[in-house]
Amino acid sequence: MPETMQQEKSPSPTIKERLLRLTRNENFALGVILAVLIVAFGVMTHGAFLTTTNIRSLLLRSSIRGIASVGQAFVMLSAGIDLSVGGVAILVSCLGASLMSESSRYAAHLPMPLGVLIMVLVGIGMGAGNGVMVSRFRMSPLIVTLAMWQITMGLAFQATKGGETVRYLPDSLAFFGKGSIGVVPVPIIIFVVVIVVAYLVLHHTSFGRFIYAIGGSEVSAILSGIKTRNIRFWVYAICGFCAGIAGVIQLSRIMAANLMALYGLEIDSIAAVVVGGVSLFGGRGSIIGVLLGVLILSVVGNGMNILGLTIYMQWIVKGAIILIAVSIDALRRR
């Protein structure tokens, strides 16, 4: 034990020191990047980017992606991954639509609250399926969720009777996607609630602490007596839950369900989480970072749309962003 660990009474940090430490903060860097991007796109699009309508639509789209990303963050923090997020969301919306549709082609005609409840439960169920295979059977999360993605797409196809678009949904369903409470659209409210709850869980509960522990070093976590198997299970269930909510909101926004609607949600969520500073190897990262990552990617996507870039060009940019983000993260961690 070092005897001369004299705790020198250092003077409280000066403003300058505080500012310096702030600039090294990852989330601050992300915030700066976000601000720069907003300004850049605003200039490049001659202001079209900054209209209220656009910002509103941007925030709405961020909400769906953001909720899925929060779920993905939980999984990735525990050193896992969930490639089925998009598939689960698509399945949830297709299944829910076919259950609630008032058209004669679908027999169920379930009332809206029941339909939505089933949708969320299916989401949790799919996530739980992932969780069981990863935690109990100790299978690789990559393959499990990849296979689950295939399975959910297949089931969604069956639910929509062969891939057709399901319409004629009860009007009350529109509340989740198109309604507002006061001036704030409901999806944004749900997103904010999810973020806040996630933040509280991750940073102020022991469950959250255990997630970080498992991600950091599973062996140490096991040796510390943490029930890693249970926690592993629950993070996937949570991710499925988030995917389910995303599916509900998406269905509500478009009031029709189609297989291609949320295609690519898993890659978007992984990208947002990774840009937000969560390491794929787990154990590092914060919800604020994820939020910033979601916003950055939404801004980039939205800006590119306005600028008229083809979707393939956008793919290249998004892929490059992911690579740059993880590279920076790796270099900083050296």
């Binding site: 991954i81 295979m133 059977f137 100790r138 299978m139 690789s140 990559l142 393959i143 499990v144 990849l146 296979a147 689950m148 993605w149 295939q150 399975i151 797409m153 297949g154 089931l155 969604a156 196809f157 069956q158 062969g162 891939g163 297989l259 890659i267 992984i270 990774v274 794929l280 190897f281 083809t310 979707i311 393939y312 060009m313 956008q314 793919w315 290249i316 998004k318 892929g319 490059a320 992911i322 690579l323 993880v326 590279s327 790796a330 270099l331």
Partner: protein, 338 residues
């Protein structure tokens, strides 16, 4: 080491012992599964799926998939993964297409031989980018190859201007001709398997692949240049899918960004599935080329059978997903004592 194994059976028959040991062999189980699948599909579709066209089709698809699977197997053996295979293959095909045909705005048509060489080099080069990110920056292979998939697939569409380029007739030989009765594509596939087997089992590089996958720290402590191993497997994977691209564009006699499907993810799923079914563990260090060969054949029969049975693409995804899950589950169950 403890004394004699308690499993010493008192069977006096060498044949019986060999038979028992055979049934426990992983690859034997795969062969059985393969035969079962063929018969099941044969019954389901009311004819033994052994018509000449069918076999040719299975053979071509399996050849392409097989070559790509060899590269993927090497990557997965190092506990990595390459999801970008579809994107790299598509981009390579489009690059080759634009060079070989008369696309306005590009270098004038170059001889198809040079074009093929450029394609192979491009594949290796793109694989090298993957390798650099994984080996030097030590990034997670999944994220790197996922991002690369996006980038290469997007680049493929842009390079080819979304057009389908018709190839000169000379190129049809790769997929449609035979040497001495054996289709060239099949020869390429066999060559890839043999080379793969040789590399993995009879070179130091192959040993390092297994070592790095099995226990990277120990491999590094033993003096193996793990960084190089990580780098080269991705280069090889890129090269392999470039070969697969050559066969594919020759098969359809055109190069376009959708030769591997709209997204290009199918190739990744098929190769990873084939490798995993073939007994290669995703955690690295375990598996054999023979298993990969069987895995490729199983996936090939599965795909072909499902097509003939008229199942929709999504139902096929469903079934394939189930099969892959089952394979991984078996692998995990076998490793449960670890």
């Amino acid at each position: 080491m403890a004394g004699e194994s308690p499993r010493e059976k008192a069977s006096g028959s060498v044949l019986k012992d060999s038979a028992i040991r055979l049934t426990r062999n992983e690859n034997f189980a795969l062969v059985v599964i393969l035969i079962v699948l063929i018969t099941v599909f044969g019954i389901l579709t009311n004819r033994l799926s052994l018509s000449r066209d069918n076999i040719l089709n299975i053979m071509l698809q399996s050849s392409m998939r097989g070559v790509a699977a060899v590269g993927q197997a090497l990557v997965i053996l190092t506990a990595g993964i390459d999801v970008s295979v579809g994107g790299i293959s598509t981009l390579v095909a489009c690059i080759g297409g634009t060079l070989i045909t008369t696309m306005p705005g590009y270098l004038g048509p170059i001889p198809w031989g040079t074009g093929l060489i450029v394609m192979l080099l491009a594949g290796a080069g793109l694989g090298a980018i993957n390798g650099l990110f994984v080996s030097r920056l030590r990034l997670a292979p999944l994220i790197v190859t996922l991002a690369m998939w996006q980038i290469t697939r997007g680049a493929a569409s842009i390079v080819s201007k979304e057009e389908s380029m018709h190839l000169p007739d000379a190129l049809s030989f790769v997929a449609h001709s035979s040497i001495g009765g054996v289709p060239i594509a099949a020869l390429i596939f066999v060559a890839a398997i043999v080379l793969g087997y040789f590399i993995l089992n009879h070179t130091t590089f192959g040993s390092s692949v297994y070592a790095v996958g099995g226990n990277e720290i120990n491999a590094w402590l033993s003096g193996i240049k793990t960084r190089n191993t990580h780098f080269w497997v991705y280069v090889i994977s890129g090269f392999c899918v470039a070969i697969a691209a050559v066969i594919q564009i020759s098969r359809v006699m055109s190069a376009s960004p959708v030769i591997w499907g709209i997204t290009g993810l199918e190739l990744a799923i098929d190769t990873i599935g084939a490798v995993v079914i073939g007994g290669v563990s995703l955690f690295g260090g375990k598996g054999s080329i023979i298993g990969v060969l069987l895995g490729v054949l199983i996936i090939g029969v599965l795909n072909n059978g499902m097509n003939i049975a008229g199942l929709s693409i999504f139902t096929q995804s469903l079934l394939k997903g189930g099969v892959i899950l089952a394979a991984v589950g078996v692998d995990a169950w076998r490793r449960r004592s670890l």
